[in-house]
Subunit: 346 residues, 2 copies
């Protein structure tokens, strides 16, 4: 089969690789029908992931059709349309039991030295714990499938940013970052009933999409101190909930700086922060920091229900579509910020 | 009257100063009967608080007897025995309404350019919002008064460390730091029903006191990595709740390092951290960081009830007693770690 393989900074190639096979009785082999390129893929693409080695597989967001299952698999069967979260998990350990699927003791992440989702097929370990079956109603409806695809990562991650920030009915929330995750955090805040949603970003087109998604206010200055000041002013003292959806030093400073005393920053951007964050402000005003890598597996069933009920549509974040052979072009387009997020149709 | 005044690194003097007077109708003037020296006072004593200027008053932990009240004061009257938390607050703003008294819009802290508690008397702004009346039962009982005195700060701060770390019935909690706050965090964890309380510190005598206070396990290595490893081993993966009661880089690393995936670090030590904390581990395992300066005013009524019901006794942390004239000796003794915490009897 064909798969996307990493060779170094800016060097992604589509290559012939061995077909995946069942190895353990809890495995499934899935033919991939839909995949994505993620903003977090740009870290290795830009050469900023020292652990990434030539030959690593790429892609952690995918859906497909089950081709074969191991003898212990119970919840999916050949021919089922399935969605995978970006991490696999056994569904039975202490942390899976608590809903923290990304800390599964036997789990892991697609890509790297595991098989990747930017490929024609994949082996899925712990198929029962990992894969979510897509109901008949949607399984041949391309419109609904495209809406479901972001649930593999960015929609679940944006939802985790909102949940971690303590967003609920009537709350004022600021979302820092207008990438796919930030935009999905806006959708999530609306879904959770926030009364005011302030989106902080730099890109006009993305901010406009954020408005369609439910943002009530936009803050677009490139001056971080001014962004903080604007949000402090418009909220008379800061936002109760802040979703940090970028993961660098500046975005942490902005998020902590605009949080209201007693408020919570939910963070989901992979942190690439070498310097100190503003613990002093957190201390003085009892601002909490919660979040981390999103346990998307736990959110998929509810979010899928919302999509199927026509109440949630994150598909506009997928504003470019490529064939598998053109995945390298997709990386380049995302790297140059020509596109929010790329959908791959192997 | 006499009061303790800061003049620079290691230079605390007892001086004659003007008597405090009612300035606003919401003020009270209180004759101080009991005060303390706090571990956090050592920051300025050691010259590590650049904002501290010669002439600043010292002391933020005190109790006393009301001498005079302004015309708008309703809840305390002349002759009442009262306890003050280390911050004053109006009791009526948004943040006081939420229980976040230390973020009171019109509030502040004793000492510095406000009057200090290491003195014969003090003016208390917002007497109704700030002062807590000590019931008759205790007001002339020296044993109970000594037990109540730590509620002015360290007991409430240790309680905030436990509450912020999410301690409740049946939880496993690690407490980092065997100073007065850490020891009070142990008492708090027991009060809140923790089933296992691991105290991490270096001082044999303090660790023993921690055991009396309810610690079920002691970790005393001076190697941070080994302390983390010991707690990970004994808890099979980390403590669900960790109370960080020191506030330096090493203690944050230890606290985050020994938190269980999905767990919470409650931090209450004034952060003196210039470097990055381990956001990467927090991210990978969804470890939350909560806490800050303790809104002690909100905890005092409940904790006072526990003391009066003979269910709580933090007084053993007060292991040295001085007259007001000997306050400088008290600072020196705490600086040299000859004592956990000094009680002052003006």
């Amino acid at each position: 089969m064909k798969a996307s393989v990493y060779y170094g900074k800016g060097d992604i190639r589509i290559e012939k690789v061995p077909d995946p096979e069942i190895q353990d009785p809890t495995d499934a082999v899935v033919r991939i029908t839909h995949a994505c390129i993620c903003g977090s893929d740009l870290w290795f693409y830009r050469g900023e992931e020292p652990d990434w080695k030539p030959g690593f597989r790429t892609g952690h967001e995918w859906m497909g059709i089950v081709e074969e299952v191991g003898r212990d698999v119970r919840t999916v069967k050949k021919g089922d349309r399935v969605l995978a979260p970006f991490a696999f998990s056994d569904g039975s350990c202490e942390f899976c039991g608590k809903g923290l699927f990304t800390s599964c003791i036997r789990g892991g992440f697609w890509g790297g030295d595991n098989l990747g989702g930017q490929a024609e097929a994949i082996r899925a370990p712990f198929a029962d714990g990992t894969l979510v079956r897509i109901p008949e109603q949607a399984s041949n409806d391309e419109r609904l499938l495209t809406r479901l695809l972001p649930l593999t990562d960015v929609m679940g991650t944006g939802y985790h940013a909102a949940i971690s920030a303590g967003v609920n009915s009537g709350k004022t929330v600021a979302v820092v970052g207008d990438g796919a995750v930030g935009l999905c955090a806006v959708l999530s805040a609306r879904l959770l009933g926030a009364s005011r949603i302030i989106l902080v970003g730099h890109n006009e087109a993305r901010l406009k999409l954020g408005q369609k998604f439910g943002a009530t206010d936009l803050v677009s200055t490139r001056q971080d101190a001014q962004a903080i000041e604007e949000v402090i002013q418009m909220t008379h003292g800061g936002a109760e909930s802040v979703s940090e959806c970028v993961g660098n030093r500046a975005s942490f400073d902005v998020a902590i700086g605009m949080a209201r005393p007693g408020g919570t920053v939910g963070f989901v951007g992979v942190p690439h922060v070498q310097e100190a964050i503003d613990l002093d402000r957190m201390f003085r005003h009892n601002i909490s920091l919660r979040g981390g890598v999103a346990p998307v597996r736990g959110y998929v069933p509810d979010l899928m229900e919302q999509v199927l009920a026509e109440k949630l549509d994150p598909s506009p974040v997928l504003d470019m579509k490529v064939q598998l052979d053109d995945v390298p072009k997709g990386y380049a387009a995302m790297d140059e910020r020509q596109t929010i997020k790329v959908m791959v149709r192997p």
